[in-house]
């Protein structure tokens, strides 16, 4: 019987690897997720009923463990089912924080169980690393959650980098001393956890809301490493494999995301993007913007051959994806070809826009990726940009001083007519002026995306 649990762990590890692999392709993704979930269930129940400690005794408190599982499942299920598709990124961040907190608590209890007796160095290293990384991941994720919910703003001050680095250095030094056995006592462990929690908060506070996906992805891989620390503690292969796998995959995913924005990870984390404003404001675009009414815009689109909609962050914020689908439907009734141009980083996370539009029943074939849609713009009659800004900014191609220079963009400026739907003339999250708005073939349609789209729909219906 004793050989059964390691075999169950082996099976679970294989499901994690297979599941993660299958998540990488649209056809197999859903199945992959279910397979990994199945493996997780096997590992959990195998542990509860088959695990034996070093003393050869099975686990006790089984009723409490099952009770906690039931409570956690109920809360987690309800939260996950209730959240709107637009709120997915912050939900992922929240659940990630829970995993981090779990890892930190495990380390606390492990320390407590030793009751002040000296730990072997390897054991102590895994415990402290799990505590520090788990705590940073927890508090950082909660701040990221708050930022995406628009409850927490960006907080920046002069000596921020210095304070953060000093705090990190302090935390690592104390952690190192504890591992080396120079600082005994449970109180010092609590102080260490506190420092790590504060660092997590301060680390995420200055980073802009639009960069949160990168931060969440990074904290995701942190939690993976914290879980792997638990694997070292208990010589538990499934924790080790699951944790390291996510730690490494999460790191690569983070880097891939920053590359899609043509920035480095360090640039996202440590440079406050708003700082670039001054440089581009100096050579600010000249000219005036042309405003268009919803009625005129409706007429333009209804008599076009092809309309391309460029959905952005603003569409997601205004929850306008359903109205957008309606607009597409009305235009098709009039014989207009409608396509969506989806930039790799549109929405709040890469791929988020595809999820949002899929939720609104937009046909998957209508979502065209950047490389394929770009050659089509010169033959497109009307491009409707909804709440997107930086991904259609020609400065990315023409202005080497621009912070987004080199980022691949949607070439909407080649279309016969561009209509930009925006709340106001305010610059995008990067704080960069957009020369596109001043082009002769561009017209601005100001207002809330959802309200404006609704009036476009009724105008087109009335035609």
């Amino acid at each position: 019987m004793d050989a059964l649990l390691p075999i169950l762990y082996l099976i679970a590890s294989v499901t994690f690897i297979t599941g993660l692999k299958m998540l990488g392709s649209p056809k197999t993704a859903r199945q992959g997720n279910l397979i990994a979930a199945g493996g997780m269930t096997v590992a959990i129940f195998g542990t509860i009923f088959l695990y034996k400690g070093h003393d050869g005794l099975p686990l006790h408190n089984i009723e409490w463990i099952i009770g906690a599982l039931v409570v956690g499942t109920a809360i987690g299920w309800v939260m996950a089912m209730r959240v709107k598709m637009t709120g997915m990124p912050q939900m992922v961040s929240f659940f990630n924080g829970m995993g981090g907190a779990c890892a930190a608590l495990i380390s606390l209890m492990e320390y407590k169980a030793y009751g002040g007796a000296a730990m072997p160095v390897g054991h102590s290293l895994a415990t402290i690393a799990g505590l520090v990384i788990g705590s940073v991941s927890f508090s950082g994720s909660i701040i990221a959650f708050g930022k995406l919910e628009d409850r927490i703003g960006d907080i920046r001050y002069g000596a921020q980098k210095f304070v953060n680095n000093a705090l990190l250095l302090g935390t690592l030094t104390i952690g190192g001393m504890v591992v080396a056995g120079n600082l005994p006592g449970f109180e010092i462990i609590l102080i260490l956890a506190g420092l790590a929690l504060v660092y997590g908060v301060l680390f995420v506070l200055p980073i802009g809301g639009a960069d949160m996906p990168v931060v969440i992805s990074l904290l995701n891989s942190f939690t993976g490493v914290a879980a792997a620390c638990g694997g070292f503690l208990y010589d538990n292969m499934v924790m080790l494999i699951g944790g390291i796998l996510v730690g490494s995959a999460g790191t690569i995913l983070t880097i891939v995301m920053t590359k899609a924005m043509n920035r480095s990870l360090a640039n996202v984390l440590f440079s406050n993007f708003g700082g670039a404003q001054a440089a581009s404001a100096a050579g600010g675009p000249a000219g005036t913007v042309r405003e268009v009414s919803a009625t005129d815009c409706a007429v333009m689109m209804a008599y076009a051959k092809q309309v391309v909609i460029v959905p952005g962050y603003g569409l997601a914020v205004a929850q306008a994806q359903h109205v957008c689908h309606q607009l597409e439907h009305e235009l098709e009734e009039k014989g207009v070809t409608v396509k969506y141009a989806v930039h790799p980083v549109a929405g709040r996370m890469p791929g988020h826009m595809n999820v949002l539009l899929a939720e609104a029943d937009v046909d998957y074939d209508k979502l065209v990726e950047m490389e394929e849609i770009n050659p089509e713009f010169p033959t497109t009659d009307v491009v409707l940009v909804v709440g997107a800004n930086d991904v259609v900014n020609p400065a990315a191609k023409t202005d080497p001083t621009s912070p987004i220079y080199g980022m691949p963009i949607l070439d909407v400026e080649f279309a016969k007519q561009v209509v930009v739907m925006k709340r106001s003339m305010k610059a995008g999250y990067a704080g960069i002026e957009n020369e596109l708005f001043y082009r002769p073939n561009t017209a601005m349609l100001f207002g809330d995306a959802k309200a404006t789209m609704s009036s476009l729909v009724s105008e087109i219906k009335a035609l």
């Binding site: 679970a12 690897i17 599941g19 993660l20 998540l23 990488g24 649209p26 056809k27 993704a29 997720n33 279910l34 990994a36 997780m40 590992a43 959990i44 400690g53 686990l59 408190n61 089984i62 463990i65 956690g72 499942t73 987690g76 996950a80 997915m88 992922v92 659940f95 990630n96 995993g99 779990c102 608590l105 606390l108 209890m109 169980a113 995701n220 939690t223 993976g224 914290a226 879980a227 792997a228 638990g230 208990y234 010589d235 292969m237 924790m239 080790l240 494999i241 796998l245 996510v246 490494s248 690569i252 995913l253 891939v256 989806v342 890469p350 988020h352 999820v355 899929a358 029943d361 074939d365």
Partner: protein, 94 residues
């Protein structure tokens, strides 16, 4: 370094390369569900919380352990359910 620790390190290194290999060629459309799925998988940390809870003897450890198992479950269940909901959106049309 004893052989057991050494083989653990080998495993860690191989897993790092495997993780990189698994993710490197994924279309950006799937980044969000992928992140969410990976998030659910690191919920495996729950195994550790079950072990400490199952060996806890005093009240404080019991409370901390109970809390840890709840948080871990939130990570696992929430993570997989959210990922499944996102992927359902893609499935509808195929």
């Amino acid at each position: 370094m004893d052989p057991a620790t050494l083989s653990l390190l080998y495993l860690v290194i191989l897993m790092i390369f495997l993780g990189i290999e698994l993710i490197s060629h994924v279309p950006s459309v799937l980044h969000t569900p992928l992140m969410s799925g990976a998030n659910a998988i690191h919920g495996v940390v729950i195994i550790g919380s079950i072990i400490v809870m199952g060996q806890a003897n005093d009240t404080l450890s019991m409370i901390l352990g109970f809390l840890a198992v709840i948080l871990g479950t939130l990570n696992v269940v929430g993570g997989f359910v959210v990922t499944n909901r996102m992927l359902e959106m893609f499935k509808k049309r195929n």
